[in-house]
Subunit: 245 residues, 2 copies
DNA sequence: GAGTGGTCTAGACCACCAA
DNA sequence: TGGTGGTCTAGACCACTCA
């Protein structure tokens, strides 16, 4: 493990290489979401490096929310299934900070072909099979988000309306338990738009009322895009929280 | 330094204590924005700990964008003045990703008293003096952001329209060089609203056209709130970029 | 070449958890 | 009590920058 450490022309730190190896084990399914991975000492001897080097690799993965460390217990593969992180990517909060009950109303689930734009976004060939889902999310009984979701068909064979209904609002948790696909990060583009058509109707708005438009692309291990989503949100009494550092 | 390391009832890691000491030197002005701080070895001997412990403290501060490490040169106090991070908190991007020229049009600068809400937000006594600034930001010649900015008067004595005009769009850079106040993080709340009144007029919009409303509170060292800001943004051809992890 | 941050190791010991 | 992650140290050596 140590031979290319310094002499190599394109030098890469050992812990980065270990990080790649761990990621490959995650992609390969050797350790699944929720599993405990081997201890630092074990990994150190497997990869023939010191514990500190493994430690640094795990630290990096933990800071990316890919692994979770628990002192005294072990290091675990992060999951969207755990209570409390089910809605990790949902940034919409009530203005008064009250706790809210989330409801999920399934609208439609259809198969189709990717146009050139969607193919580009999801890194597919143009014309590849996709699945489109529409749903309505309600907070404390009031419909607030109209979601249009697109995923490639092949990794999600068997995705249907029933599964969306059962998901209880957390698609990511469902992707994991039903299809073994775990999202690790997402990019969002926000803008303000005017409500119209079926969306306005579903959300109980008049045309031209302002909506927060959230376009999101989610990525799984290896930064592979696996979901595109457009959420249209009513924000008269809610806002999207963000922290800048 | 080492005596309370383990026996203490409320145990705190050494590197956290070092981190606090470094932060205090930053607050106290021993090292100012842009300065190089002493080397790791020097700090280690000053605080009577090993280099690795100082290293971990600096790592933490660097990951919070408070310090910046430069291999071969040294570790520096982060600044908003450096080219490229002048607009660190500005997330608005053109739809086609083109580079844009930023223009800053000063509208007004007035003194006033904090109402109870603003006092709460800025951690002031109700009735404390504040300064309010309004300005218009244009991208490539088109006005896109109407900003309403409120800061406490006392740390910003002498802030006026001329200084805002000279700031060239980067208030944070101006805060630093003129008042020694450095912002380290910010919280934002986004929602969609309808344009109206003077804002609609300044941005060249009809009433009721959708605008992205960005409410921001910025914090200096020690998480002290130092600025409130409401930005109203035209997003027909731009979007707010965000990365979720 | 001198000085800085960056990597890697080896080993000791502490804090937390479960059986 | 044993295993896990967490902290801290000391020392060697590499990579980068600049005079």
């Amino acid at each position: 493990m140590n031979d290319k450490q310094y002499s190599s022309p394109s030098y890469k730190p050992l812990y980065d290489q270990i990080k790649v190896l761990i990621t490959q084990s995650l992609i390969g399914g050797e350790w699944r979401p929720g599993d405990m991975i081997p201890s630092e000492i074990e990994l150190a001897s497997r990869y023939k490096v010191s514990q500190g080097t493994v430690r640094k690799a795990i630290d990096a993965l933990a800071s990316e929310n890919i692994l979770i460390r628990r002192q005294g217990k072990g290091t675990f593969v992060a999951t969207h299934n755990a209570e409390g992180i089910k809605l990790r990517f949902l940034r919409l909060t009530s203005a008064d900070g009250q706790k809210e009950v989330l409801q999920n109303e399934f609208l439609s689930c259809t198969k189709g072909k990717a146009d050139s734009r969607m193919a580009l976004i999801l890194d597919l060939k143009a014309g590849a099979s996709i699945i489109e889902v529409k749903r309505l999310l309600s907070f404390s009984g009031r419909p607030l988000i109209y979601d249009h979701i697109v995923v490639p068909a092949s990794p999600f064979k068997g995705l249907n309306g029933a599964k969306v209904e059962e998901s209880n609002g957390s698609m990511y948790s469902m992707y994991e338990s039903q299809f073994g696909v775990r999202m690790i990060r997402a990019e969002e583009r926000l803008k303000a738009v005017a409500a119209s058509g079926e969306v306005a109707e579903a959300l109980g708005l008049k045309n031209h009322e302002p909506l927060l438009s959230i376009e999101r692309v989610s990525f799984t291990y290896g930064d592979k895009p696996m979901e595109w989503r457009l959420g249209l949100c009513v924000t008269d009494n809610h806002h999207y929280m963000n922290e800048l550092e």
